[in-house]
Symmetry: C2
Amino acid sequence: MRKVAVVGAGMTRFGKYMDKTIKDLGREAVEAAMKDAGVDKSQIEAAMVGNAVAGLITGQEMIKAQVVLREMGFGDIPMVNTENACASSSTAFHLAWLYVASGMYDCVLALGVEKLYHEDKRRSFQAIGSAVDMTMVQELLKATAARGVSAGEKPAAGGGAGAGEKRSMFMDFYAAGAREHMKRYGSTAVQFAKVAVKSHKNASLNPYAQYRETYSVEDILNSPMVAEPLTRLMCSPIGDGAAALVLCSEEKARQLTTKPVWVTASILGTGKDRAPGEPGVTTRMAEKAYKLAGVSPQDVDVVELHDASSPAELMEYEELGLCKLGEGGRLIEEGITEITGKTPVNPSGGLLSKGHPIGATGCAQLTEVFWQLRGQCGDRQVKGGNAKIGLTQNAGGMMRGEPAACTIHILER
Amino acid sequence: MRKVAVVGAGMTRFGKYMDKTIKDLGREAVEAAMKDAGVDKSQIEAAMVGNAVAGLITGQEMIKAQVVLREMGFGDIPMVNTENACASSSTAFHLAWLYVASGMYDCVLALGVEKLYHEDKRRSFQAIGSAVDMTMVQELLKATAARGVSAGEKPAAGGGAGAGEKRSMFMDFYAAGAREHMKRYGSTAVQFAKVAVKSHKNASLNPYAQYRETYSVEDILNSPMVAEPLTRLMCSPIGDGAAALVLCSEEKARQLTTKPVWVTASILGTGKDRAPGEPGVTTRMAEKAYKLAGVSPQDVDVVELHDASSPAELMEYEELGLCKLGEGGRLIEEGITEITGKTPVNPSGGLLSKGHPIGATGCAQLTEVFWQLRGQCGDRQVKGGNAKIGLTQNAGGMMRGEPAACTIHILER
């Protein structure tokens, strides 16, 4: 397998774009990525495009890649539509990496694009809801209806299942996980709130973020309860957006830039029924990635992880080996994952505040880490521009308590 | 890039399965393919799964691969959901090939699975309808409504757009293409009918075919008109089904079988806006495939091609180089593409009669060619079991007169 570099990335600001189509959003991200890479359309040899729910939101169930890219004049290059729920576009990136690593192509585009907003918000949540085995959803819908749960006004999607009008059922999974973590390890709602404070603060420094307001711990805790202990401001919102990256062979990258960022691990895995005590899919895939890249968690300078809820971020610190099991709370208390800390996590603002247009999220995480390693993140830049190793973790869907899909990417300059 | 072999394939009979889920259909095909390959689940290292419209038909918009395969116990192997309309599962096969060819994995599963039947047939056609740019569909819907076209009772889908209750708007594209061919080259409705006679006869010999009745030229011509000159029996039906293949590295294949079938070309391309006189995407991709495999059209012993309508088959003879432009009619008149002919085409019965559950079709074509090259097709076996080179052509979606996606695969034993 050949070395593969990222040479450019671009994205839209995440947000609510009722008047824009996936074609508009995708085009903006792709043009920005090509400009950043210094390539034109004639150099792109293939395109992998991740999207999860455009069929249900926009009616474009099929050939989304072609609809988004066709008019941009890429000619008859291979285009593949990939889907792995919230990990749809990191899956697209993985396949773009594979095309280049295999030796088949020298310059490949990866794009994630999503519209979640719909005039009828129930439709947004119902769309997100199909990221689980639908037979499971039917049971959960019944259980939720029986409890009569409702939530605040800010729509809290979080890559989750859609039941009620104003929230996502996936938050029930996250809330249950958070309660279990509190019970077992003594983590607290205040710690979960501190994660959210950090995310919103980081997003306030990120012009691509959907929500740029800052909040105090009290603000977070006092926002409407979604599912104990998750408040609204601990949950990722719904949103629209796109992100794209250009991947190249080493030779091509050397022609294009003096600042290539290498993909030293591209791992995709699937959730399974675990044996008792067996670690989760994030841990299992992260271990493969560290081994492949020849780095340890302590070597990582910047992380973008899948904080569909703020307790999830704290647990993922542990799952990624940034600390021992049960120590996630300590990391946030000690400021280790702040932009100024030893291992900055989600300097972009993460899913929580930068936003989570689900099929765009994976490529957006990779874009942020790429920009961080290039030292071009302005006010939210980590390590004074000297970060060398970055990691992304992106999870999608849910089957019996474990994400259906999980990707880990390690990028190095 | 390494040599890649197919070592096993399996499929369900295509048909109408109101009581079966995509999980049921997928499992049946995968178990059959693994049995055929002589591998168990522990040997499968990744799975690529093509599906087009389960979101609209069953509500399972996301993580279809995981839903179908999870309970079969494959563990945490990479799974990717791919979509390219009617070419969804040949795209999955292409990516499975890429995984093996790259050296990343030694044994990968490709699966195509689809349910098109829905209690409300309009929903089936509407689902199929999203295989075009939806802005285009809106215009076509208006045009069709203005003409008030209706069709016969057998639902004619043909990988096309859904407008009316009983037919697919894609047939308007095919009908227009057929009329143009008649005008330019003198092909006739009788020739189109002869293609359909052949398909239905072949399907009558195929236990996996959805429609196994045989018809005369008169039967075909006298069946209800769908869109001049297409009658109902010249159009592929809607259906449910699944097909799967196991792909291996050379070393692994040698361990498993004495009869590997090699993938000597795996080409995926996208439709584009053509220059005047420029050949279509099928021709362009076929030329790449022939060059890569080092064979000519005349070397090919068996073809499975995308006969969403019978005139399309005749035109694809030409596009694939089996004859010169305008000579498609001669090929069917002279029996050259019969099972007993020099270049048998669609011995399975093709989309027209074997059926066309769109996301399953690509893998089903590859399964048929694999079985033909292994000499295990019984009554429909071509070349007395001595076929050495086979080709599949699978097209998906439509954008401004050209398929959105097109794959060409060449298999050799």
